[in-house]
């Protein structure tokens, strides 16, 4: 199989590289671009650890062909920090125990980042539904809800004019 040339915008930076037509987006990110934040937990879109945003929509990079994303904008967990500091949701996940072993965390970060972008003040039910596509084996999810709520509160505090 000959390689195809691919142009992506990853975390705001244009990237151009050649990849096998059957290469997944996850392998391209991890192996070709060295962005190992997105994780491979299952290979079959069950766990959500590889979630990235493709043109603003959370997608599972493990079952997405890289070549199919040509010209699209990708945001990975490496791209959501807030100007060199932890984003509110990243800080809150640490403080509220939303992350234990951390392997599923990148997927949750992307999902929550998307959720709060869509709906700045979700109900607990909406949070649960949004998170249900990502599996975590450590936390039992309870502390994640506290973290999401704390992040929302922090964001709102941040928006108050000083």
């Amino acid at each position: 199989m000959s390689k195809v040339l691919l142009k992506l915008v990853v975390n705001g930076r244009p990237q151009e590289f050649a990849c096998e037509p059957n290469q997944t987006l996850l392998d391209a990110l991890r192996q070709d671009l060295g962005l190992t934040g997105s994780k491979r937990g299952c290979d079959d879109s069950s766990c959500g650890a590889c979630t990235v945003q493709v043109d603003g929509v959370p997608m599972l990079a493990c079952t997405l062909l890289a070549a199919g994303c040509d010209g699209q904008e990708i945001v990975t967990v490496e791209g959501i920090a807030d100007h060199g500091s932890l984003a509110a949701i990243q800080k809150a996940f640490g403080e509220w125990g939303g992350s234990q072993c951390g392997f599923c965390t990148p997927g949750f970060m992307i999902t929550v980042h998307w959720l709060l972008g869509q709906n700045p003040n979700p109900t607990e039910e909406e949070i649960r539904t949004a998170l249900s596509g990502n599996l975590c084996r450590c936390t039992g999810y309870n502390q994640m809800y506290s973290a999401v709520k704390a992040a929302i509160a922090a964001e709102q505090r941040g928006k108050v004019p000083r």
Binding site: E20, R30, L35, T36, G37, S38, K39, R40, G41, C42, D43, D44, S46, C47, A49, T76, V77, E78, A81, L86, I89, Q90, K91, F93, G94, E95, W96, G97, S99, Q100, C101, G102, F103, C104, T105, P106, M109, R128, T129, L131, S132, G133, N134, L135, C136, R137, C138, T139, G140, Y141, N142, Q143, M144
Partner: protein, 866 residues
């Protein structure tokens, strides 16, 4: 409340930012120049002799570097000294579907996968054993020749006089409880990277470095040394971030050895990462357990005797099996006061992936049986489920009938608090039909008092170094697998040295850098490594205090270290650390850096000479003066469990004893849909006695996580087998609960302050799991009056039990093979109502075939009774 400045306060894990930003590196994230990828060929037969392996076609493929087979590393190993029955790759025969046959090493994963299909293996199928009770009758075709009747190990323990105990009982309950097999399913699939470096003296491959997702780097170093025939000193094991373990990484997993053997043969670094399906085959989870339990009670609720016969379906290798079967018996004790115990345990080999240690090791399934039966006897004698538990409390400090020493004991408070928060007394028995409450208790060790390899050597050693920059570096072998041990170590060091958490840097789990810690298993790390850290910190503190006393002109007893400063007691501000922080001069540095340059120029020393004695100084000043005084500032601490906590003398007494036990109580509120059989858990109140909560947010996370994992086992998780083939080797099929299925868990922390724990702390990560399953079972009984004695409580099992209760109900009009009211055939299909496949090929003499060929001896579908 408590007089601490760092511990007892919720803090983010010290490695949290690496996890939320994606910067943290797990093993599979690592790479190096020239890295090759290994892929393992697995057996498609449950039990077969390997006659021939022909890898020539695979080797001919472009990009394939080498193919590793069993003969490349035939030395046997195993996690237990009594269970050395594994080889890196199968040498003569395979023992389960998924057993390791060969490993292809290639330039890319795609090439390696392609080459796997080209390896030609000729198998000679042998009769296979899948049911433990059948396997125990085996005379021929043994799974391991040295294990007659396929019994890995059996134990028969009698404590007190069980016969007399049962004779004295007013009521005796008997029953069979079955807990089906579950697995860890940690989010990170196992991964190992192995690399040799060339020895400059000999010019040949010399030292080996292995990065691996492991809970036990030092055991891995030991097993690698056995298989590779290399001295341990030439092997360095580094544990990067580990994406969860739960026991699945607490022993040496085949890929860890195979990667090293492959790197040696390929003469290049090799990385192997399991696919999710391979993780299920590697397994080492909680075995399917059959518990025949008998409990005798007096009318007043006092337990007079307990007898348990436990059979564990251990899979094809020993793994931790001997320890698992011993835990099942030993931890019948130390929760309640039981005067007479009889225990018969059988660990049986079958042709399935090996079972091993999983969160709550050995105790969970027996606890499910015991707490369910306790509920049954309470009802039989007309006593409330809370009250019968309160009637059987231990009176510590004490030594139980089976030789376990109990000191701190927060169980009474756990029971009281869960009953109170769940409003048990007001609500129990008054909920509408279909909704119920159930209670159960559990406990767990805070580390095994005897290590796997018995010795008097310390189980943990920790070194601390403080240099003139004022930075505290803790070198600990403790393996953080997400439970937060690095944070625990940093907190203890900071608390003991009176400095801020940000000043402490933890270097962990690298066999070259850190002194030994035997690993993250049996919930030992906080208790043992925490104690070693505390001792190391105290050793350093002693030196700082000594020089500070001299410097401030007071006695060493009058020196206080707190709030990143060192105080003369007379100058120490009233009101503790907060006041101390406020009283500190505003320019006082709180982290090192800021005065580093000055210290290097020696200006602090100069300043000190000019100033003369003072009554307080900064941490940096104190450090510099201590280095001045002692030459260097380092400390070592180690921990070995006290002799009194190491248990009795009987055979098998080594497993069960612990320096301290954690205690848990849970109340579950469930509803049962009698139409669909679906059980919904609405809320769990979970109290856990962790001695002292060093980091409350972590303790809550561990307790909630344990309860949640227990709920998974209670309601939906189950490994479904068909002729030794796993039918659900994927996270969706295995049905680990998602956010939608996970109820609110209210964690109640109980602090009993253990006399030997670091600041009184005990374990928090495992003990809560076991209570969740019986709490749900008891709640289901309360809701709809059915007693489920087989987990998980799936809709099929609930419906079958509801149907069985209605004597005149019509039987399910399903084929005989899938009718849940025929447990034996039903189980063969794992409760699946749709699966009708044939499964893996079987030998004609296979017992399952023999049974089927016994003409129509299989149960026929019974016709409707009405």
């Amino acid at each position: 409340m408590s007089d601490f400045s760092v511990i007892g306060k919720p803090v983010a894990l010290v490695d949290a930012a690496g996890k939320t930003t994606g910067q943290g590196k797990y093993t599979d994230d690592l790479s190096m120049p020239g890295l090759l990828i290994g892929k393992i060929l697995h057996s498609s037969y449950p039990h077969a002799r390997i006659n021939r392996i022909d890898a020539s076609k695979a080797l001919a493929l472009d990009g394939v570097v080498t193919v590793v087979v069993g003969a490349d590393a035939p030395n046997k190993y195993g996690i237990l000294p009594v269970g050395h029955d594994e080889t890196a790759l199968a040498v003569d025969k395979v023992r389960y579907v998924g057993d390791n046959v060969a490993c292809v090493v290639a330039e890319t994963e795609a090439i390696a996968e392609k080459a796997l299909e080209l390896v030609d293996v000729e198998y000679e199928p042998l009769p296979a054993w899948f049911d433990p009770e059948e396997s125990m009758r085996a005379e021929t075709d043994l799974i391991h020749e040295q294990r007659p009747q396929n019994i890995e190990k059996e134990y028969h323990h009698v404590f007190g006089d069980p016969a007399k105990g049962f004779a004295e009982a007013d009521h005796v309950a008997e029953g069979r409880y079955i807990a089906n097999e579950v697995t860890h399913a940690a989010m990170e699939p196992h991964s190992t990277l192995a690399s040799f470096e060339l020895d400059p003296q000999t010019g040949k491959p010399g030292r080996l470095t292995v990065w691996s997702s492991t809970q036990v780097p030092y055991y891995l170093q030991h097993k690698l040394s056995i298989v590779l025939e290399m001295p341990m000193s030439q092997i360095r094991v580094i544990k990067p971030l580990v994406g969860g373990g739960f026991g699945g990484k607490s022993e040496v997993i085949p890929l860890e050895i195979i990667a090293a053997v492959a790197a040696r043969k390929a003469q290049a670094p090799v990385k192997i990462t399991y696919t999710r399906e391979e993780v299920f085959w590697a397994h080492r989870g909680r075995p399917r357990t059959i518990v025949d339990l008998k409990t005798g009670v007096k009318k007043d609720g006092r337990i007079t005797a307990v007898a348990a016969k436990v059979i564990q379906d251990g899979g094809a290798y020993c793994s931790y099996g001997v320890v698992t079967i011993l835990y099942s018996g030993a931890l019948l004790g130390a929760l309640y006061d039981i005067p007479n115990i009889q225990y018969d345990g059988y660990r049986v080999l079958t042709n399935k992936p090996a079972c091993g240690a999983m969160r709550g090791h050995g105790t969970v399934n027996v606890r499910f049986a015991f707490e369910s039966q306790l509920d049954e006897v309470a009802r039989a004698i007309g006593m409330d489920a809370v009250e019968i538990r309160e009637r059987n409390l231990l009176k510590p400090p004490c030594i139980t009938v089976n030789g376990l020493r109990v000191q701190s004991y927060g169980l009474p408070e756990c029971i009281e608090k869960t009953a109170e928060r769940s409003r048990w007394r007001e609500r129990k028995g008054k909920l509408p039909r279909g909704r119920g409450l159930g209670i159960a208790c559990s406990h767990y060790v805070s580390g095994a008092a005897n290590s796997i390899i018995r010795s008097d050597m310390p189980h943990s050693t920790v070194n601390i170094k403080i240099d003139r920059d004022g930075g505290v570096v803790v070198y600990t072998g403790a393996s953080d697998i997400g439970q937060g041990s690095d944070t625990m170590v940093a907190q203890i060091a900071a608390e003991a040295l009176g400095c801020s958490l940000g000043r402490v840097k933890v270097v962990a789990a690298d066999t070259d850098l850190t002194p030994i810690d035997i690993g993250s298993y049996s919930s030992r790390v906080t208790f043992m490594n925490g104690n070693a850290t505390l001792r190391a910190a105290e050793a350093v503190k002693k030196q700082i205090v000594q020089s500070a006393a001299k410097r401030m002109g007071c006695a060493p007893e009058d020196v206080v270290m707190r709030g990143d400063r060192v105080w003369k007691k007379s100058a120490y501000p009233e009101g503790g650390p907060e006041a101390a922080l406020q009283a500190a001069p505003p320019d006082a540095p709180t982290v090192s850096g800021r005065v580093e340059g000055q210290i290097l120029r020696g200006s602090v020393q100069q300043k000190r000479k000019e100033e003369g004695p003072k009554d307080q100084m900064s941490f940096e000043e104190a450090v510099v003066s201590a280095i001045d005084f002692h030459g260097a500032l380092t400390g070592t601490g180690s921990y070995a469990p006290p002799v009194e906590a190491r248990g009795g003398k009987h055979k098998g007494a080594g497993v069960g004893p612990s320096p301290a036990y954690s205690y848990s109580t849970q109340v579950a509120e469930v509803s049962v849909d009698e139409e669909t059989g679906e059980v919904t858990v609405h809320k769990v109140w979970a109290a856990h006695d962790c001695g002292r909560a060093l980091n409350p947010v972590s303790v809550e996370g561990q307790v909630i996580g344990s309860v949640w994992m227990g709920l998974g086992q209670a309601l939906q998780e189950e490994m479904v087998w068909k002729d030794g083939l796993l039918m659900n080797p994927g996270l969706l099929e295995y049905r680990s609960p998602s956010a939608i299925e996970s109820p609110d868990v209210e964690c109640i922390i109980v602090e009993s302050v253990d006399p030997e724990g670091p600041f009184g702390a005990k374990e928090a990560s495992e003990g809560s799991l076991a209570a969740a399953i019986p709490a749900v079972a008891n709640a289901i009984y309360d809701a709809v009056g059915i007693r489920l004695r087989e987990s998980p409580f799936t809709p099929e099992r609930v419906l079958a039990a509801l149907r069985a209760k209605q004597a005149d109900a019509k039987r399910l009009q399903l084929s005989g093979k899938v009718d849940p009211t025929h447990p034996e055939t039903f189980r063969e299909h794992g409760g699946s109502l749709s699966y009708r496949g044939r499964g893996a090929a079987r030998h004609p003499l296979d017992p399952a075939i023999r049974r089927k060929s016994g003409a129509e001896s299989e149960p026929k579908p019974e016709q409707g009774a009405s």
